[in-house]
């Protein structure tokens, strides 16, 4: 009798153990891969996920080190720079530089998120227009990331696959593709996005509209020296009437600059949520008794304007006083000399690494100056000057005229330098004009510094860690 009871109970336990669902535990607090990507909302959210990765390029220091610190615009004014930072200031990058790897990873992560969206969206049914908009924006983000990478690294891996198992990744072709092929992918993506996105302007400038796509495509063509195509794209942006120059240049970089008419693509920030930017720390001096912030906050002086940049502003240029400064008010009422940049600095920040001022990735002045560059490239120098003068007019500078093609090109380069100082354009502008080594090496010589940009240093090294992962990944020459 007793024994049968016991046996029965063991059998009960045994039969229950056969229920494997005791071992099927899913995280209740997380979303599973398999149950998502079903409807319009899911894809909207996935697209925001791609934008979130894209933000990573700008929110920290990566883009500013890559495009400003390496040029004649900026230098480190901080007693304890890291090796990584020094390498940027001195144009002596190595393949172990963490910031370089960060840029590589961020771009490819954004691309991969776009790939997931583009691969999955075909299998779902929802409103065609909404779907096209998502596809268009995903293609824009993918193109933007490849464009950024190809300018910095040259050849890069290109894939449109979505990866869902270790085996698939092991079998994939992730070798670097020739620069021309990468540009073809970029142009295809942007052309496709152009045809998919609605012609109306998205009032939320953190998202790409058709004008954003055309602006970027214009920049891509310009970079490739295809002035004709560039001029076409950019003139379409201009004639669309969707954008315009904001009257107050200073307002572009301070509190309340969300969704201005000049903004074409922007990244917004809020304080205290881990979604702030780092500009207030990067641009302002490492002086403890400053009175420029509340709470006696201090910057880090990691990217400060060079004297060379100060001198690049023409007399009477209204941009200078709102872009850079060399006088720091102190708590005791005195002032001390230290150069610092003022764009995007959040003067009300609670922590300097947590600023809330919107950063503008692309804006209308860029379109005008690029258009000028394209026109000048097409030997329409007088038309080009008219575009430049629109930008100069706003800040109280007199018109340029009577320049020849070469001096006009130089004028555009100069104009861009002061117009977009500390906005992450300088390095790319110099690359496009072919002046990088000439300008930066002269700048070092002017400072009596023994640094230089060598020909091979016009490209980043491929991160060593990535090469160690993938034997087929080649390193750029001389690194």
């Amino acid at each position: 009798m007793k024994r049968t009871h016991i046996l029965a109970s063991i059998l009960i336990a045994a039969s229950l153990s056969a229920c494997d669902n005791f071992l099927e535990l899913n995280p209740e607090h997380q979303i599973s891969n398999n149950s998502f990507y079903q409807n319009q909302n899911d894809f909207e959210r996935a697209l925001l996920g791609a934008y979130s990765s894209f933000r990573g390029l700008y929110s920290g220091s990566a883009m500013l080190y890559a495009a400003e610190l390496r040029t004649d615009n900026a230098e480190i004014h901080w007693t304890s720079p890291s090796t990584d930072e020094m390498q940027f200031e001195q144009n002596a990058l190595t393949s172990t530089n963490g910031t370089v790897r960060g840029i590589w990873n961020t771009c490819l992560r954004t691309i991969s998120r776009c790939n997931t969206i583009l691969n999955r969206i075909g299998n779902t049914e929802f409103d065609e227009q909404a779907k096209n908009k998502i596809i268009g924006e995903a293609k824009f983000l993918r193109a933007f990331s490849y464009f950024y990478m190809v300018q910095l690294f040259g050849e890069v891996p290109v894939t449109a696959e979505e990866f869902s198992s270790p085996e698939q990744i092991a079998e994939a072709d992730l070798t670097r593709k020739p620069v021309d092929a990468v540009y073809q992918v970029i142009i295809d993506d942007l052309s496709s996005a152009e045809s998919l996105l609605p012609s109306t302007l998205n009032s939320d400038k953190t998202r790409a509209s058709i004008g954003t796509v055309k602006t970027l495509l214009g920049k891509v063509y310009l970079t490739r020296g295809n002035f004709d195509a560039a001029a076409t794209e950019l003139s379409e942006v201009i004639t669309s009437g969707q954008y315009g120059l904001h009257a107050d240049y200073g307002a572009l970089f301070s509190e309340g600059n969300n969704n201005l008419e000049e903004s074409i693509l922007e990244i917004q920030y809020v304080r205290g949520r881990g979604l702030g930017n780092n500009y207030s720390a990067l641009f302002t001096p490492a002086i403890t008794s400053m009175a420029i912030f509340p709470n006696n906050l201090q910057g880090s002086g990691r990217i400060t304007p060079s004297l060379n940049l100060f001198n690049a502003y023409e007399e009477g240029d209204g941009r200078k006083d709102v872009s850079v400064n060399d006088s720091v008010p102190l708590i005791n009422g005195n002032k001390t000399y230290a150069r610092y940049a003022m764009k995007f600095v959040d003067w009300d920040a609670v922590a300097t690494s947590d600023g809330a001022i919107t950063f503008t990735v692309l804006r209308y002045a860029d379109v005008l100056l690029m258009y000028a560059e394209a026109l000048n490239g097409l030997d329409r120098t007088d038309d080009a000057l008219a575009e430049i003068n629109k930008v100069r007019d706003r800040v109280g500078l007199g018109d340029l005229d009577g320049l020849d093609k070469q001096t006009c090109a130089q004028a555009i380069e100069n104009e861009r330098r002061v117009e977009f100082a500390f906005e992450g354009h300088r390095w790319f502008d110099l690359l496009r004009s072919g002046h990088t080594r000439e300008v930066v090496n002269a700048y070092y010589a002017g400072k009596n510094q023994n640094f230089s940009v060598e020909e091979y240093e016009l490209l980043f090294p491929v991160p060593l860690a990535e090469i160690e992962l993938n034997d087929d990944l080649t390193q750029n020459e001389d690194y």
């Binding site: 007793k2 535990l25 899913n26 995280p27 925001l48 934008y51 881990g274 979604l275 922590a351 060593l464």
Partner: protein, 1068 residues
Amino acid sequence: MMSYSKFKLAGCWIVTLWGSLLLPVHLAIGQSSQPTVIQGKVAASSDGSPLAGATVSVRGTNQAGQTDDAGRFSMQASIPATLVVSFTGYLTQTITVNDSKSLAIELVSDEEQLEEVVVVGYGTQRKKDVTGSITNLTAKDLVPVAAANSFDQMMQGKVAGVQITQTSGAPGGNVNVLIRGVNSITGGNQPLYVVDGYAIGTGGGGSNLSGYASGSYSVDGAIDASSVTRVNPLSTINPADIESIQILKDASATAIYGSRGANGVVIINTKRGTYGQSTINFEHSSGLQEIQKKLDLMTPRQYAEFVADGRDNAWVFAGGNASDPNDVRGTGQYVKPAFRNPEQFADNGYGTDWQDLIFRQALVQNYQLSATGNRNGIRYFVSGGYMDQNGIIIGSDFDKFNFRTNLDVDLTSRLKLGVSVAGNYSYADVARAEGHLQYRGLISAAVASDPTIPVYDENGEYYSEFSDVLGIPVEHVLLIADEFSDKRKNANVFTNNYLEYRILDGLTLKSSIGVNYTGNQTRLWKSSKIGLATSRTGAAIAGVTRINAINWLNENTLNFRKRINEKHDIDALIGFSAQKNTDDILQAGATDFPTDDVPYLAAGIVSSGTDYMTQWSMLSWFARFNYSFADKYLITGTLRRDGSSRFGTTNKWGTFPSLSLAYRISEEAFLKDITAINDLKIRGSYGVSGNNLIGNYASLGLLGISPIVSNGQVISGISPSSLANDRLGWEKSYQTNLGVDLALFNNRIVLTADAYRSHKKDLLLSVTLPAASGFSSSVQNVGELENKGLEFALNTGNIVGEHFNWSSNFNISFNRNKVLKLNTESARLSTSSYQVAEVGYPIASFRLLNILGIFQTAEEVAANPIQHPKVQPGDYRFQDADGNGNITQADRMIVGNPWPKFTWGFGNNFSYKNLSLSVDIYASHGNDMYFQGGEVSLNAAGVQNQLAIVADRWRSPEQPGSGQIARAIRNDYAFGFSAGTTKYLFDGSFIRVRNVNLAYNFPAAVANRIRLQSLSVFGNVTNLFTFTDYPGYDPEGGTGGDNIGMTGVDFFAYPNPRTYTLGLRVNF
């Protein structure tokens, strides 16, 4: 809701099981029989002398009595009855009585008995029958280390094959226990701990402190950092409650624990009541702790010279002249005017030694009260304890309360019930001791601070030159101590209950169910008076983490033991177990505090938070079969099948078998006559065990939240966060063990030797994925590694006399670890910033730029590969490992590893009459340590204060110094102070006099006069001496916590103190 219903489902079957078990209980209790008088005599088996005061009880009733002076007893009982006869110093005997004739009972003395019993998984075994590799520690081995918060500290140096490292000397700080080397690269390496049959999981628990300080500046960082375990979870088990500890080392012993046995198993048995005399035990000790050694730093004068030297060299490097004034230099090259006249600073003895501000002499107190005995058939052990330990660094403090009740009741002659309830509550103040001074690591700040400046200014305020362009950016250590706080509370309630039913003689069914509940709270705070890395002040932030963990376990075993024809011993077991664990985690953080006075979230703006739950479950079947023939040939086989929620859908269940054989040669006729040999046994085993210590949902493809800001609002995007892996499975350990046990000369010499090889396969590696995949890494079963080793343990009774006794125990272990396979042939996994796993080398080998020497001349520079065109004499000469003619990070090479070539422990016990002295030594040889603190205090950068050896640096070819330290220079172009060079790698070998204990037992007559059973007093010194060449505070220190891949990296870990203790122990 889903998991709740599953819990109910699981609960259901347990209730069913228990219900069906209880039915026979009622049947058994309901049986009736005739009461009879039972009488008899109890005597010693050795000489037949009567034993007075022996306890005789009738199992299953509350009948009990004691023998009279003639050893006689008499009592009423219903036959058939089971008598239990016990007497202190003798083995308890159980006798079945079927009639009323007078009984003659002989008890066997403990000492005559060689049949030491050890606890193995799900049962016990006579030690002589053990075929695997098991070390048994009993009360006599576990001399309480006065300041020991957790029992693992007491095991150090006592077990061959077990490396125990106390990486943090903070009260309640981390202890790493490695059984037979590193078994896993990324999975956990801590053994499985089983307390009274309940697998409580592992120690450690993510105490990695390396990233601790850096993150805690933002609200999110404060939240993250508050999840870091800083209190050893094993401290919930009161060391004073422990009866014995068994360490299962080879697969034969651990395979019964299947997928959790690969790292070894530590079985802990708490004290339980016996049939013997009842006693109440009180113990108190008080101790004083102090730093073992302070670091020898540069004198004020040396410091002033050093700063000027480093900055002048930097200015010259930048193209200037050493005599140029500050106003033409960059700020990094400024020299404080006072430092131009270093003679004004004394050579020694003057100035501020900032170490004196953070280290202190600190008290530790321990009170333990327990009662044990037997009343009305209920055996009990009840204890309570309180421990209060202040740390040797200001602001660190740990208080702990422990309670335990263990009851065993004979319900009937066949049915036994046991109840254990243990509770624990602790609260800790944790000092911000470790890490870089930029993150306000206290030790690093104290070592780095300028010795020429005072502690207070003329107004009595803290003095610091943090914000002075001529000063150094080191925050005042007392401000750090004042303005950060880290408070931890932990409450634990553990109950485990069993029913044991003897179905037939030799056949026993046991079912147990237990619940372990832990509530844990961490509160971090940084006031607004202290700042970010480069800022002096910054907004106040607070972060709170609460974790509720509930773990339940049901185990059911059926055991059959039988001796047939006096030759065949059979012991067989089958069992089933189910276990589930749920952790609920709630975290929040706040900032914008209007005042620093109220550090609670309510006083600020809550700006960040999360809430999540994580679970795992396991189902297991297991079986073991022991057979011995004539005590000569022994065989043990085990088999376990484990199913776990953690693994991929195609790999849910794993099977773990083992087989072991032993041959007791001493039982052979040709050896039986040799009286010198008491025991000689050879053993061999082979088996497979597993390791499942990875994340709970690692096999699933999951999505995470990626927020962005749009139109000023935060909105959540979604993005892939982990790559699915359906094939994810266990790590497997294939282990072979050969051993010999030898006892000679009346057991005066007892030797155990073991040789083993374990081959780990399918190791779970976080394989870094190409960035183009969109994932940074994924967990895969790809690695293989090997541990080979030898272990010897020797116990000797050197002098056995009437009054004077001297016994020794010595153990030594050799382990070699080698990575055999990673995801690719050439793969190299970083296990820390300085360490890698690479095929052919031990795991966590140091991979660094190798310094060959210091350039003395320009010709030498020109003739060698260099890293920068401006390398000059006085800079380091590095090895061009890849031979490409220049020095880059690619020239890092494997230069050492943190694993000792061998470790040994040597204990000596002396006793003379009532006085006893024990001295324990523990040593580790051949392990390398990366002194990360050197990146601050050996960098020769001309900024922070340095270890005194930097004063003997290179200055010119004529003054080359010690040859160890390059010239001082503020620039790092020549990797002079770069992290990751052999400059910071040191031999971490040490010999430590771990414990000296002197005790006096008052004679029984004295104790009895004051109505005590016994009274003893003791004095104890822990960490009396340490012999080492390591330049940091403590060669055992490590900031990687239980992250084994970071073993041997010391960024100013909290040093282990020296402790002087006095105590007394009373029984009444």
